[in-house]
């Protein structure tokens, strides 16, 4: 508990959370106001009900990016500055230590994501869609799963790989997951071995796009595909197993 709380305190004190969140809030503001408008087929869309699924995709993507930036360096920093020495020497197991750090990462990612969702909710009210607040809150639950996937995977990989390697893997997983729909479309167009390989590779990406789509469905009151949510939970569970079993040779 202390270790997780310290991760949260550290990220807050380092102002990284503020900077990334302010950037995210700005994007939400631009999307939610007249400053930015969506034009489909030459028609300007101003209906918040129509905009909200797109906004959810954008906000989830931002939350995921913040989660990635926050989570990738926590474990390596602990070892680099040898804080780990004072933890290991107290008989704290690596599993407990790494999981505590990962929980701290997830918590910080959630705080940041919830701030973005709160901004979105404020703009929903401003635009006269107070009735959507409950559904936006429900969609926020899927954002929690979205960011937990990124944060837990980043924490797990950062235990065993140097930051640069885990960073590259995570960017591929994140981008692949967030734009999974586009990749699926591309794979469907491709023929031959390329298409087959691509279809298999896509399966390795967590279905982040699917989670955002379900968030949009929730916000609009449409049916939700539970399968996507369960798959997301399984990814978090697998990352959690990784955090518990991945080991560093030395503190």
């Amino acid at each position: 508990m202390e270790i997780s709380l310290n991760v949260i305190k550290e990220k807050i004190r380092k102002k990284m959370l503020y900077i990334t969140t302010v950037l995210g809030v700005l994007v939400v503001m631009i999307f939610s106001s007249d400053m930015g408008s969506l034009t489909i087929g030459g028609r300007q869309i101003k209906d918040y009900y129509v905009l909200i699924p797109i906004l959810i995709h954008v906000v989830n993507f931002l939350s995921g990016a913040i989660a990635l930036a926050m989570s990738l360096t926590t474990v390596p920093n602990e070892y680099e500055r040898r804080t780990s020495h004072l933890i290991w020497s107290r008989g704290i197991s690596q599993s407990r230590y790494h999981m505590s750090l990962a929980i701290g990462n997830v918590a910080v990612s959630w705080i940041s994501g919830l701030i973005l969702y709160a901004t979105m909710a404020v703009f929903a009210v401003v635009n006269g869609y107070s009735g959507m607040l409950g559904r936006i809150a429900a969609a926020a639950l899927l954002m929690l799963l979205y960011t937990a996937i990124i944060s837990m995977l980043a924490s797990a990989l950062s235990i065993i790989f140097p930051t640069i390697v885990s960073g590259v893997i995570m960017i591929i997983l994140f981008a692949g997951g967030a734009f999974r729909n586009i990749l699926i479309l591309l794979a469907a167009v491709l023929t031959g071995a390329g298409g087959t390989i691509m279809k298999r590779v896509i399966r390795l990406f967590p279905d982040l796009a699917g989670l955002s789509r379900q968030g949009g469905n929730l916000a609009q009151g449409n049916p939700v595909d539970v399968h996507v949510i369960i798959m997301g939970m399984i990814v978090v569970w697998i990352a959690g197993i990784g955090i518990l079993f991945f080991r560093r040779k030395e503190a």
């Binding site: 202390e2 550290e10 004190r13 500055r81 040898r82 780990s84 004072l86 933890i87 107290r90 040779k249």
Partner: protein, 224 residues
């Protein structure tokens, strides 16, 4: 004298390089033991293996049952935004101890950090060193392992720390010190080993020889 720690033929190798080579020594309860040697002699690796921060490639390290240890690193890092008291509460919490404010304040007073509200970022190197010592004492350890406990301290700070170590010795604590300041070693330690390139090249017992530790060290470590 009851043995509290015993190393038997402990070796640590990284790929082709052996940094600790067949190291053997034992430490009795209540002893203050010095690990001596030039940079790269294998002292810190030895400490890491004793603490379980690194696994020996071969050999055996035995710590007597029920012995609690405390560790003060050479270059401690504490979150700069925390105060000394918050650092103490943090480590007490990790150890699952009740965060008794009075007890933690007493420990901070013991190491000379009466002002425990100043943030670590405003601490001098010497104050951080004292905080490192204070956090090592939280569990009231039987075995204290101190890596360069007087490094970076001014004359007063060094004197204070040595007095503190003497008090801990009087209270029956077993202490392992890794230090380059041989004068301090002679002032506080009962005996020790001198290491060179991962091996023990000689042992030293306080007050036995007319030769000063510094002369002995230079003679042995300086030889190629």
């Amino acid at each position: 004298m009851n043995e509290i720690l015993k190393l038997e033929n402990v070796t640590k190798s990284y790929k082709d390089k052996t940094v600790v080579d067949a190291l053997s020594f034992s430490i009795g309860k209540g002893e203050v033991f010095a690990l001596l040697g030039a940079n790269g002699a294998g002292k810190t690796t030895t400490i890491k293996m004793i603490l379980g921060l690194a696994k020996p490639s071969s050999g055996k390290i035995e710590i007597a049952d029920g012995v609690k240890s405390g560790y003060s690193p050479e270059t401690p890092y504490f979150p700069p935004y925390l105060s000394a008291m918050e650092v103490m509460r943090y480590y007490a919490g990790i150890e699952g101890r009740k965060k008794d404010k009075e007890y933690l304040e007493e420990l901070l007073d013991t190491v000379g950090l009466e002002d425990n509200r100043t943030r670590v970022k405003d601490y001098s190197k010497g104050m951080i060193q004292r905080l490192a010592l204070a956090q090592a004492l939280i569990a009231d350890p039987d075995l204290l392992i101190l890596d360069e406990p007087t490094a970076g301290l001014d004359a007063l700070g060094r004197k204070h720390n040595l007095e503190l170590l003497r008090k801990l010795k009087e209270r029956g604590k077993t202490i392992i010190i890794n230090s380059h300041i041989l004068h301090d070693i002679e002032a506080i330690c009962d005996r020790g080993v001198i290491m060179k390139k991962g091996k023990v090249i000689d042992s030293w017992t306080n007050g036995v020889s007319h030769e000063s530790l510094e002369d002995k060290f230079i003679r042995l470590v300086g030889e190629e």
